[in-house]
């Protein structure tokens, strides 16, 4: 594959990447899809093809809805490269990859970045203990390995949490409790946008089904003001403080946290593309036009990586970006593009409501106790970050320099938004003004041997 050239390189094989490949291959463009996972589907459709045989019902309709897409992708004729990580996109559009310890450069006329989302960090005391996982992590175990934990406690808010707890219940697992941090404040700010949400009644019906089954099958705790996870060598329980001041302690060895998803901007930021602070969704997103074109003429961004919209919106965004590229390659698809744009708008109509309803309060976006770990990789606590702020760190990069938060392997995915908000609170600057860590390649760690294995010729 080394030094090969493709007309289109798609990074990511979730719904956006897969759908984009369908459009580009249909138009006859040489397409490669690079996927850092072992099989297509990204996160939302993880293991979808392998699950066709047994088709466990508990995974739900929203999961199996992706079947046709996954099957079509498998047959579309794109070069599919799984188990392959992109660690850099240079400013001359070379894509630096590593697969099985060997690094290579490929080039493409157009690149579609479809690397999806990650979960918003949820720093609570004790969250680094073994047995604590993100809800997404728990869901992946269910999809990929048919594994679930009995008597788990789900903590947080957001559709992914309710879906996963529902899947657990449907799989016959005993869910100990769901601690829902969604509050009255969130409802009040979201309600004016409910009419737009009515444009997607199927989503609302599905959500209502999840919430109903959860209420009937487990203890739901609301009006929560603080959470703490207890344990020494592993999670032993959750201690929950209610707004009334009362405390509820629940024994649990498996605790799943979730407070929303945000675009995974590491590759797009390291590539130097323009980003903006999304005030409504309280996260960073790349600056893209309606077709997904970034600040770089050759690079498009599709799916949750360009702004959270969910699986269906992601697939349409993949189609939209791909058809814009296909048009630029001399095969305009005006009607198709118009159709995709309208569908995309439709799928995004529920976002103003959902984004507001499930935006966690500052109490949960930020850590509540000094000992809470903020940067997991470097084990920097809230107190450590505050000490760096007291030393005069006034921006994320200076703060990183002063206390190492953000210097670990995850490159800020687990702490960046929290650190940014701590700095903004301290300095009085807005989130947009505060900025973010300056991200650089390698976007994921690469061994020295793999790096050294990169061969020329080098472009000028």
């Amino acid at each position: 594959m080394a030094n090969q050239h493709f007309q289109i390189a798609i990074i990511g094989a979730g719904p956006a990447g897969m759908a984009a490949a369908l459009t580009t291959t249909k138009a006859g463009l040489e397409t490669i899809v690079i996927d850092d996972q072992k099989g297509s589907g990204g996160q939302v459709y993880r293991n979808l093809l392998a699950n066709q045989e047994a088709s466990p019902a508990y995974l739900g309709k929203s999961y199996y809805d992706g079947t046709e897409l996954a099957q079509s992708f498998a047959n579309c004729g794109a070069v599919y490269q799984p188990d392959c990580t992109v660690w850099q996109i240079t400013n001359t559009h070379e894509i630096a990859l590593v697969s099985r310890g060997k690094a290579e450069l490929i080039t493409a006329d157009y690149i579609i970045i479809a690397t999806g989302a990650i979960e918003r960090p949820m720093p609570v005391k004790g969250w680094t203990l073994p047995g604590v996982m993100s809800v997404g992590g728990a869901q992946t175990l269910l999809k990929q390995a048919a594994l679930g934990a009995d008597d788990a406690v789900f903590v947080g808010s957001g559709p992914l949490l309710y879906l996963t707890a529902w899947q657990y219940i449907k799989a016959g697992l005993a869910v100990r409790a769901v601690i829902d941090i969604t509050g009255g404040k969130q409802w009040r700010s979201a309600i004016p946008y409910a009419p737009l949400a009515l444009l997607q009644p199927d989503m609302l019906v599905m959500g209502r089904e999840w919430l109903g089954d959860i209420r009937r099958n487990t203890e739901v705790i609301t009006k929560v003001s603080a959470i703490e996870i207890i344990g020494q060598s592993q999670a032993q329980g959750v201690s929950c403080t209610l707004s009334s001041g009362d405390k509820i302690d629940i024994d649990a060895n498996h605790i799943f946290l979730h407070q929303g998803v945000v675009p995974n901007v590491n590759l797009t930021m390291a590539t130097g593309l323009a980003h903006q602070w999304d005030h409504q969704a309280h996260c960073w997103r790349p600056v893209i036009d309606v077709t997904g074109k970034s600040s770089d003429e050759q690079i498009y961004i599709a799916g949750d990586g360009g702004g959270i919209g969910g699986a269906k919106a992601a697939a349409i965004a993949g189609r939209l970006a791909a058809s814009a590229i296909v048009a630029r390659c001399g095969k305009p698809r005006f009607l198709a593009q118009l159709y995709y744009k309208l569908r995309h708008l439709h799928y995004l109509s529920i976002r103003p409501f959902l984004d507001r309803l499930y935006l966690p309060s500052a109490d949960f976006r930020l850590a509540q106790t000094d000992e809470t770990i903020i940067c997991r990789c470097e084990a920097v606590s809230k107190a450590g970050v505050n000490a760096a702020l007291a030393s005069g760190a006034s921006g994320p990069n200076q703060l990183k320099a002063f206390c190492r938060a953000g210097m670990g392997r995850c490159q800020g995915r687990g702490c960046g938004l929290v650190v940014q908000e701590m700095i903004a609170s301290h300095t009085g600057q807005s989130m947009a003004e505060t900025g973010y860590y300056r991200l650089r390649p390698p976007v994921k760690p690469i061994t020295l041997a793999a790096l050294a294995s990169l061969e020329g010729p080098w472009p000028d």
């Binding site: 070379e94 630096a96 390649p441 390698p442 760690p445 061994t447 790096l451 050294a452």
Partner: protein, 371 residues
């Protein structure tokens, strides 16, 4: 955020990198009121790209004043580290137990030897070094690869954590009453009666002394005070690995292990203007050389990389100048901000605070380029 309650200072420093912070710290500890003006968090910031060596070997081999100045700073470093310990931040990790310049060919060994021998000659015994052949080097670094021919060992060399140094200097500066403002790059400097007036996006300030320590931006600021600093960016790329058990007893010019355990590996010298992109071919070459040096590092993961722009004068040596047109104005630039931090904090700050740059620093004036 400290509210500025005054607008008049004994000294204003333009630039919050290693030079500005070192001089600012040095002035504030002498009792001067100091305002340090820094640009944005994402400005070029050579200091944040620094490798962290407190390096003596080779410096000023062909320019004795630089060799003297470097040696002086190296000797003052323990005093700086001791004082900064009191600021209570993370340990600076200063180690001055010697350093190595590892050679992968006989030609490199020869070149290195000639340079250091020349340096030794004009230093009257002050500068020591030893060329280690492969077997001697193997005793210090048992894991060296078959391509390693030997190294130049210098007992004066060392390393430190440059980012924690900056944190400590900043804390020290504020503890002594200094004020630091960010997003306040200097835009304008002129005389106002007996004072110097400095204009920034955050307002105007007055001072008796202005020290330009803004790195590459000094080229633009110097004329405002009647000086000139011809500076060019020279790009260098560095990669950093995940943490390892202690591997390296001594730092080397291109490979050092931090106290936290990560390996810092460099480097490059590129002439590509003001851009700071990381190039896969360059970092691949850096990785290659690291593996030739210590082959067992093959499976170690690189977690970060960066490119920074060295602040280079025409001959690579510092430029220290004071203005005649605007008395009290100084322009300071160099690319060895870590090594010279101690000399800057003590000696240079002393000159700036008192009578002006002494004879010792005459040779560093920009005037040397006008011959």
């Amino acid at each position: 955020m400290t509210e500025i309650i005054k607008s008049n200072f004994d000294a204003i420093i333009a630039g919050g990198g290693l030079i500005g912070l070192s001089i600012g710290y040095g002035l504030s500890r002498r009792g001067l009121s100091v305002l340090l003006l820094d640009a944005e968090d994402t400005a070029l910031r050579a200091a944040r790209g620094n490798f962290g060596l407190v390096w003596v070997q080779g410096k000023g081999a062909y320019f004795p004043p630089y060799a003297d100045w470097t040696m002086r700073s190296s000797e003052l470093w323990p005093k700086l580290a001791g004082e900064l310990l009191e600021t209570g931040g993370p340990a600076l990790g200063l180690h001055q137990e010697g350093g190595l310049s590892i050679c992968l060919s006989e030609a490199e060994m020869q070149q290195r030897y000639e340079k250091l021998d020349h340096l030794r000659a004009h230093q009257n015994g002050r500068f020591q070094f030893e060329m280690l052949d492969r077997s001697a080097l193997k005793e210090i670094m048992p894991g060296i690869g078959p391509k390693v021919v030997g190294a130049a060992y210098c007992p004066h060399d060392g390393h430190v954590n440059p980012l924690y140094l900056m944190r400590a200097l900043q804390t020290g500066l504020t503890r002594h009453g200094g004020v630091c403002l960010t997003n306040a790059a200097v835009r304008r400097i002129d005389k106002k009666g007996n004072s110097i007036r400095v204009g920034t996006a955050k307002g105007d300030f007055e001072c008796q002394r202005i020290v330009l320590a803004a790195g590459l931006a000094n080229a633009e600021l110097a004329p405002m005070v009647g000086l000139q600093q011809s500076l060019k960016p020279q790009k260098g790329q560095i990669i950093v690995t995940e943490k390892l058990d202690q591997q390296m007893a001594l730092p080397s010019l291109l490979l050092r292990q931090t106290d936290e355990g990560g390996l810092m590996i460099g480097d490059s010298h590129e002439d590509t203007g003001f851009e700071t992109s990381v190039r896969p071919d360059i970092v691949s070459g850096i990785a290659d050389r690291a593996l030739a040096t210590l082959p067992a590092l093959a499976d170690v993961g690189v977690v970060r990389s960066w490119a920074a722009l060295r602040v280079m004068s025409k001959d690579g040596y510092p430029i220290y100048d004071q203005s005649e047109a605007m008395p009290g104005a100084f322009a300071i630039s160099c690319h060895s901000g870590v090594t010279l931090s101690a000399a800057h904090a003590f000696d240079l700050a002393g000159y700036i605070a008192e009578a002006g740059l002494g004879q010792e620093l005459d040779g560093f004036s920009q005037r040397r380029f006008n011959v």
